[in-house]
Amino acid sequence: MAILNEEQEMLRDMAREWAANESPVAAFRKVRAEKPAEGYSPDAWSAMAQMGWAGIVIPEAHGGSDFGWMSAGLVVEELGKSVTASPIVATTIAASAIVLGGSDEQKAKWLPRLASGEIVGTLAVDEGARHDSSRIETRVNGGKLTGTKAFVHEADGAALFVVAAADGLYLVERGEGVTLSPRKLTDMRSHAEVTFDGAAAERLAGGGDDLLDRVLDRARILTAAEMLGMAQQVFDVTLDYLKQRVQFNQVLASFQALQHRMADLFGDLAMMRSAVEGGLEALDSGFGVARAATVAKAEANRVLHLMSREGVQLHGGIGMTDEYDIGFYLKRARVLEASWGSTSYCRRRFASLAGY
């Protein structure tokens, strides 16, 4: 765990407590069963917004709490532990695009509504099933945006889309010319193919030529923070399970082969945590963000992949049942692994940044 300041510690404790009491895995089961239109519980989301989490990276001047990225990561990590269904990652990334690239008017218009949780935003970049920001066909003519975005996270509840077109990022409001076609993935969360057919679009003109890359770095790091919470939880419940389950008259935790596997996972988890916290720190300091983002996402992918596989295996038969929670982590893990850069995508980007 990074060394936190007092405010960050308070925030983390608050998030931990809230997630444990108000949004345990049972809450996700409820969402899965009741299928709210947004893909999450609106009540839970407004509670989060009231705690300032919707505007966690939005400046105070625009109604945000501006706790910074490390704080955002801490909250998202805690929510990841109980696979909470919420648009916090999507809307934070969308907000960051406006913070980085929006005009004063755009900021004034959108950030307060995002910060209050009144509306939800999301980022729409990829046009295929694998992340690749270099392949964008979406075009804008005369303020009208046309293109199709695949697997847009939290699309069902989103009122505002930050859309990557060939010449930059655009803001598109949900409404005319915007059609959603839901895509039910294994994580039972909101995803949709979104078709923009001459939808009114406003360019995010600031933030430089690499605005998209900078927003994607944020998406990678914050997604990695959610994955960190998931990996930590899988590790913790697996360890608890091994300590309690008896087989052949011994608790499983006493079998050396399992001890060594847990020791391996513990080492991997330590590396993942360092990589993710390193990414969050880079965002707050502004130094080395691109590189830190590839490290964070690559490590998150690698370790959560392994952790979710081992977690299921070490739970034995019950880990295969829907009654136990462990399967949710596996089924969400692969969706997040494939989002904003697979492991090999991150490695390519790392190599490019390092000049080889």
Partner: protein, 403 residues
């Protein structure tokens, strides 16, 4: 080479091949070409079409669904060579073996070895005809892979046993006609107090409750026995021999779970074919993503090595007689590779490979996802990989017990 190959005895085999061809031409319904054997799967009920039924009956009457089983019990009575020819010819016309399931894979071979003459005459022919579906009553809650700890008890009541207890992970329990189970007949002796017996799933006192899995499917059940009467003639072998017979059956299970042929069938098309569909190729058909190409080749090379290992194990066990201890190795390797393949498939397809239901996904994409999740069970059931590792270390490698 100095060594000459043995002269081929072609004539008899050629005649048999002709016989098979004629049979297939007459009996295999063209509409079933390329389809699968639902009964061999544990994942769903059987809803036989008339054509499927006819094909099952045709194969069943010849005994060719269990080609090497003795003819006297309804098997095909074929030599291995002939069985191989049968397979080859079936593959040529896209025919599947309609006779399968646990009766064929595990229970039949075990009963042929340990059953009484009466038991074989009663139980083997319906299996050979594919009329009866068997399930396995081994695991219990809180016992996991620790079979010696089992609690289901069969009380001796003279001409029958009264069975009480609970089994879990009963594959296809909700669709099965009968159950081969290991139960405790003596509480004072952990290993020697276990017996192997056959229970009718239609008997009063048998209740099944499907377990929902992370894949969304419910191929397994919890099975509850409450004062179930099991006639004494349903005891296989002697009382107390259940541990020996039960382990033997597990060897057959492992061999089947990992067996090259059936695994390959389960696997479906080659990874590289899928990759060529989902990923960019150059004008030579070479995958542009060199890293993915490397990983696919890595998998397919190891898969080849695994298939060769399964083949070698079969040859060796043929040469030595009986199921070899290497079944643990095959089970471990085959299930691991199967899981690796499923994970790789998802990576190849990206988010398109993670569809749960609804629009935007093809049937094969959706079933691939379920197979990926269901496949996580393969390294648990039939003796987990950890248990196989213990068996390999201790029995095959002679490493001492860790206690």
């Amino acid at each position: 080479m100095a060594t000459l190959a043995e002269p081929k005895e072609a004539s008899a085999d050629d005649a048999f091949r002709e016989e098979v061809r004629a049979f297939l031409a007459e009996h295999f319904p063209a509409e079933l070409k390329g389809s699968n054997n639902a009964l061999a799967s544990v994942e769903g009920p059987t809803n036989e079409s008339p054509a499927e039924k006819a094909w099952r009956e045709a194969m069943g009457s010849r005994g060719w669904g269990v080609p090497t089983w003795p003819k006297e019990y309804g098997g095909g009575g074929l030599t291995r060579k002939q069985a191989h020819i049968l397979n080859e010819e079936m593959a040529k016309v896209g025919a599947y073996n309609p006779i399968g399931g646990m009766g064929v894979m595990m229970f039949g071979p075990t009963l042929l070895e340990y059953g009484s003459e009466e038991q074989k005459r009663e139980h083997i022919p319906p299996i050979a005809r594919g009329e009866i579906r068997w399930c396995q009553g081994y695991s219990e809650p809180n016992a996991g892979s620790d079979l010696a700890n089992l609690q289901t008890f069969a009380e001796d009541k003279g001409d029958h046993y009264l069975v009480n207890g609970q089994k879990t992970w009963t594959s296809g329990g909700q669709w099965a006609d009968k159950c081969f189970a290991i139960v405790r007949t003596d509480r004072s002796d952990k290993h020697n107090g276990i017996s192997f017996m056959l229970i009718d799933m239609k008997d009063p006192g048998v209740e099944v409750r499907p377990i929902q899995m992370i894949s969304g499917m419910s191929p397994f059940c919890e099975t509850f026995f409450t004062d179930v009467k099991v006639p004494k003639e349903n005891l296989v072998g002697k009382e107390g021999q259940g541990w020996t017979i039960g382990k033997r059956l597990l060897q057959h299970e492992r061999t089947n779970l990992s067996g090259g042929g059936s695994m390959a069938r389960l696997m479906g098309s080659a990874l590289s074919d899928v990759a060529k569909k989902y990923l960019e190729t150059d004008d030579q058909g070479v995958l542009v993503d060199a890293v993915m190409r490397d990983r696919i080749a890595d998998f397919e090379i190891r898969w080849q090595a695994f298939l060769l290992t399964a083949k070698r194990a079969m040859e060796e066990s043929k040469a030595q007689g009986g199921v070899s201890e290497i079944s643990s190795v095959l089970k471990k390797l085959g299930t691991k590779l199967g899981q690796e393949r499923a994970e790789l498939l998802i990576e190849i397809m990206g988010l398109q490979g993670l569809g749960w239901e609804g629009d935007g996904f093809s049937d094969s994409e959706l079933s691939g996802v379920r197979a990926w999740l269901f496949g996580k069970a393969t390294t648990i059931y039939g003796g987990s990989t950890e248990i196989q590792n213990n068996i390999i270390a201790k029995r095959v490698l002679g490493m001492l017990d860790h206690q």
